[in-house]
């Protein structure tokens, strides 16, 4: 009889470990076997042309889109599946939800709950998921709003905030769950240019405080400054990876070179 854990090699202490991730949308093979290992406190930036599968890959990490093949481990714990007699068995919705708490996610469209104030948004996770009492959660939420520079916007509804402010509240909302990892899905792509900086600044602060982060972005300057490692993705695969110095200043792959010329405005 096969040992139940046969498919999963021993945990080597990675904070995020994605192995052999495949994803299909109909006949479209959008992720074609992606491996990624991220250590604690590391900042990984994923760049690549649109349609290359970056966002989809990010969404498989917290199983917003469950991978069709492959698996994800967060801090050593397998996400979404457990070992059963017949191999992988999907866990219940409640268990998956519990596992997701440790993964914060920030979206391109902010996705603040539109019927809640900024403060209620930040409190929503602790109160509704962790069952923290409202007073305590409220205090913590005010602290987080202060951290992202929005303590005076606690009572504002999302539609009264600018894009940059909404995105900072969204970051605070994710942080309220004390995640081990933060995923950023093009966090500045919907922002007016003058608001990009305020969001990137918050992210830079976070990375300096040792948060493990995986970021999909087109902001090459930011990647250069904040990333420990940059991955270049195209056609559902990781084409090239390296430190910012290696990848941005000295890309080896032709597709990477072409992409970087395009995003940095060169011809």
């Amino acid at each position: 009889m096969m040992p139940p854990d046969k498919g999963w090699p021993p945990d080597k202490g990675w904070m995020v470990e994605a192995h052999g991730i495949h994803k299909y949308f109909g006949h479209n093979h959008v992720l074609q076997g992606i491996d990624l290992k991220v250590s604690k406190g590391e900042v990984v930036v994923i760049v690549g042309p649109s349609g290359s599968g970056k966002s989809t890959f990010l969404r498989t990490i917290n199983h917003l889109d469950a991978p069709d093949e492959g698996w994800v481990r967060i801090d050593g714990a397998l996400l979404g599946y457990r070992s059963g007699n017949a191999g992988q068995v999907a866990v219940s919705d409640a268990t998956l939800s519990e596992q997701r708490r440790q993964i914060g996610m920030v979206f391109q469209q902010f996705n603040l709950f539109s019927h809640m104030t900024a403060l209620e948004n930040v409190m929503s996770g602790p109160v509704r998921v962790l069952r923290t009492n409202r007073t305590q959660a409220g205090e913590a939420a005010r602290g987080l709003l202060a951290l992202v520079g929005l303590e005076d916007k606690a009572a504002s509804y999302p539609d009264q905030l600018s894009g940059g402010q909404q995105q900072r509240v969204a970051i605070a909302r994710a942080l309220a769950m004390h995640p081990k990892v933060m995923l950023f899905d093009e966090p500045t792509s919907s922002l007016d240019p003058e608001m990009v900086h305020e969001v990137l600044q918050v992210m830079l602060d976070l990375s300096r405080q040792g948060m493990t982060m995986i970021i999909v972005t087109h902001e090459i300057q930011f990647a250069n400054k904040a990333a420990d490692r940059i991955l270049f993705m195209d056609s559902g695969m990781i084409i090239e990876e390296g430190t910012p110095a290696e990848l941005v200043n000295n890309p080896r792959n032709e597709r990477t070179q072409k992409f970087l010329r395009l995003v940095t405005g060169g011809l």
Partner: protein
Amino acid sequence: MWDWEAFFHYLHSLYLIKGAGISLALSIGAMIIGLACGLLAALMRMSRHKLIRQPASFYVWLFRGTPVLVQLIIIYTGLPQLGITLGVIPSALIGLGVNEGAYLAEIIRAGISAVPRGQFEAARAIGMTRTTTLRVVVMPQALRIIIPPLGNAFNGLMKTSSLASVISMDELLRRTELLIQVQFKVLEIFIVAALYYLLLTTLWGLVQHRLEAHFSRSVTASDRSRDKAPPLQLNEVALSHDAT
């Protein structure tokens, strides 16, 4: 000949007033059953699994495609033939409620569908279960969209409830008819009954207005932010036009 005296006499007839109360209670009961059936059917129709979606679609198709009067008669008069005997009140409640549910299912589904997908994903990403997401994030936003048509549905239901008189449910219309059989003041008594229905729907209109105001809270929040922009001054426009 119109008999004013009879009209005013029946206008404060306790018998008819009680009948109106029964009609209201029947409508509320049927609405509660309808909401339960409607919510269940709406959620089922949004499922990924065909086996869950199809029974709900069948339910909506069946009950929206046949007259509620026929449904009431089948439940009360037809079902005993299969050994299922329901009293008048359960028959009326179930008949009106289950029928209403088929309509409410569509209203509720439209409301839930109108909530952007990102709201659902954000809730899932902070670790809310499907049920919590629905309760805390999706339904409160869907309610803003659902409440107005839901209010109209209840208005309709209060009038449709008169059909239950056909299966001898002791409500306003039935009492009206019984009264006419002994008093012969046909027009006067029917007009009184109509006025009572009008009173019920009018009062409900007031309640509905307050409910809508309550559930559109964050919509008014956006109105407030829009108010911050100074209104366009017509005379300014005129002046600048003169200057050129």
